[in-house]
Symmetry: C2
Subunit: 346 residues, 2 copies
């Protein structure tokens, strides 16, 4: 042990959350750590975290219930999630100090990644580092898998995307547009709807909070009905979609964010419509499709290089603002992908 002492600020879960998440359900604490790797810690990597990803599934892990694919967070423990980091020290032949890596890391300044697991070197010259948490990361890949592996679009079909300017939704919309589909999105503010219409190339878009009758709104904006629905929100929107689905429609369920941050879940009442219309509803996780990652990266880097795809991010500065950033994700106040900048790269 020969490293220097540094402060390590951390974001911890303070208590399990059963209703609406508040900033005070998390707490930010600092401790001092020695910047070193234990002797004999084979393959471990010490990283400095630069960007952390705020993702809706993390809210489920805060409930204390074992209902996510990932186990519940524990009270008092540092939160865990996707990040982009810089290697400080490495006992792992695959990584050397100074490497930038996409990581499965902790919400803190410095993390030891045991065995270097789930680290992957990323190229900071190709795209902003934060893109590896979005367009070139899990959300982008979720969009790719849901669209091409689950929904399997045919040219000219109509796709509806909820949370359409979010981390995943904005990629679904753009990939769908490039695939020649009629693309309709909903979001929760005028600013987001403007983004959908003017920057993300949606053919039609509306603010679901301003519609008394979601069924009619969808009918208006999807004049040929809905062939595919990329489901990010659940609840009332799903019911309205079911009313507007065409025969042999497909629904890819990526998330149901409206159901995560509440103790009053919405019932879905129109499910019976899937019989006469022969609708398929499929839940999926991108992690089952990692074999497609190279294909995804090829497509997405091509689109980014050709400026065919853009990506919107919302940065919170510093771990002190992380609880607020995560609450903004859940309340829908952020615009685009919510990211926490832990440190500027130096």
């Amino acid at each position: 042990m020969s490293g220097r002492y540094v402060r390590n600020k951390q974001v911890k879960l303070k208590n399990y959350v059963s209703t609406v998440l508040k900033e005070t359900d998390m707490e930010v604490q600092s401790c001092d750590i020695i910047l070193d790797l234990k002797e004999g810690s084979k393959d471990d990597v010490l990283v400095k975290n630069l960007y952390l990803s705020c993702d809706p599934y993390m809210r489920i892990r805060m409930s204390g219930q074992n209902i996510s694919h990932s186990p519940p967070f524990k009270v008092g423990q540092v939160l865990e999630g996707f990040g982009v980091s810089k290697v400080v020290l490495s006992n792992n032949p695959c990584f050397k100090p100074g490497d930038y890596v996409s990581s499965w890391t902790m919400w803190e300044e410095y993390s030891v990644i045991a065995g270097g697991e789930r680290l992957e070197v990323v190229d900071p010259s190709f795209a902003p580092l934060s893109y590896y948490l979005g367009a070139l990361g899990m959300p982008g890949f979720t969009a790719y898998v849901g669209l091409f592996e689950i929904l399997k679009p045919k040219g000219g079909e109509t796709i509806f995307v909820s949370a359409a300017s979010g981390a995943v939704g904005q990629m679904v919309g753009q990939l769908a547009r490039e695939a020649g589909l009629f693309v309709v999105g909903s979001a929760g503010s005028k600013q987001k709807v403007d983004l959908l219409r003017n920057k993300l190339g949606y053919d039609a878009a509306f603010n679901y909070k301003e519609e008394d009758d979601l069924v009619s709104a969808l009918r208006t904006h999807c004049p040929r009905g809905i062939d595919m629905y990329f489901e990010n929100v659940g609840g009332k929107v799903l019911d309205a979609v079911l009313e507007n689905m065409n025969s042999f429609g497909r629904i890819a369920v990526s998330g149901m964010i409206s159901q995560y941050d509440t103790d009053k879940k919405d019932g879905v009442f129109n499910l019976y419509k899937i019989i006469s219309r022969r609708i398929t509803i499929q839940g999926f996780l991108q992690s089952d499709y990692v074999h497609l990652w190279p294909k995804f990266m090829e497509l997405m880097t091509g689109y980014l290089n050709a400026s065919k795809v853009v990506y919107f991010e919302d940065f919170a500065q510093g771990l002190d603002n992380a609880p607020n950033a995560f609450c903004r994700l859940m309340s829908g106040e952020k615009i685009g992908k919510q990211i926490i900048t832990v440190a500027e790269d130096y």
Copy 2:
């Protein structure tokens, strides 16, 4: 026109039904008709109806809303459905007087089938004629399609079937047993549950009306979880199933009878579970798979010949009892396939 006058008793829809169906929502009336085919009525066939099928989807057609695959019934019109009939007169070269046919016919004693459409000659020596409305008819084919085309079982998996002794359910259970699955069923009376356990070869069965906690009941009876669910009922049962589904589980939605005969639909609250467990829910209609009919008939006649499969039916005698029979279908009082015997064969 040279035929004789006969009485033609008919069952008509008296009014649209928005809550629980009553016998008085239908009415039985008689008129006199001439037993003849109009001159020049090319390909028409006049049949005497012997057996009529009571099917839950017909209840949806009584609501007046355009929500079934088939259009709503009209008030004052004779009900329409599957039947087994005997040809009386024929202008159609494919059918001759005396032929027994499975038919798409009307709830009356004599019907003219325009163009002989959807008539198919059936063999009364092979199986009881009523079987062509059940084991060898639409319900049997629905079971076959749902199990083999939608659920696609792998040996050793657990399948749960609701309405498990019903027209479709009893066939699903027996086909699943023959396919080497662990087969669990629910039904709404002790007598039905006895049937499931002792005659239909279910590995486990329970009376859902006697269970306060359906989630626990399913956990008990499906100790390895549920890989496949053949959905006939909807509502609360579906919610409890979602709690017990294994990863990569499949749900084939054939019907949701609990949601047809009520103005208070149940919400489904556990849909979000399909994400982390990667569950697929697929609505289907047997009519999309008619190309598989010969394969189905080959399998089913083989099973019936070898006495590997049995079939339970509940007969109501005469059209006067048809409204009561249909109400018994919806309330679950009948056991097995509900059939109306219009006339003994003579």
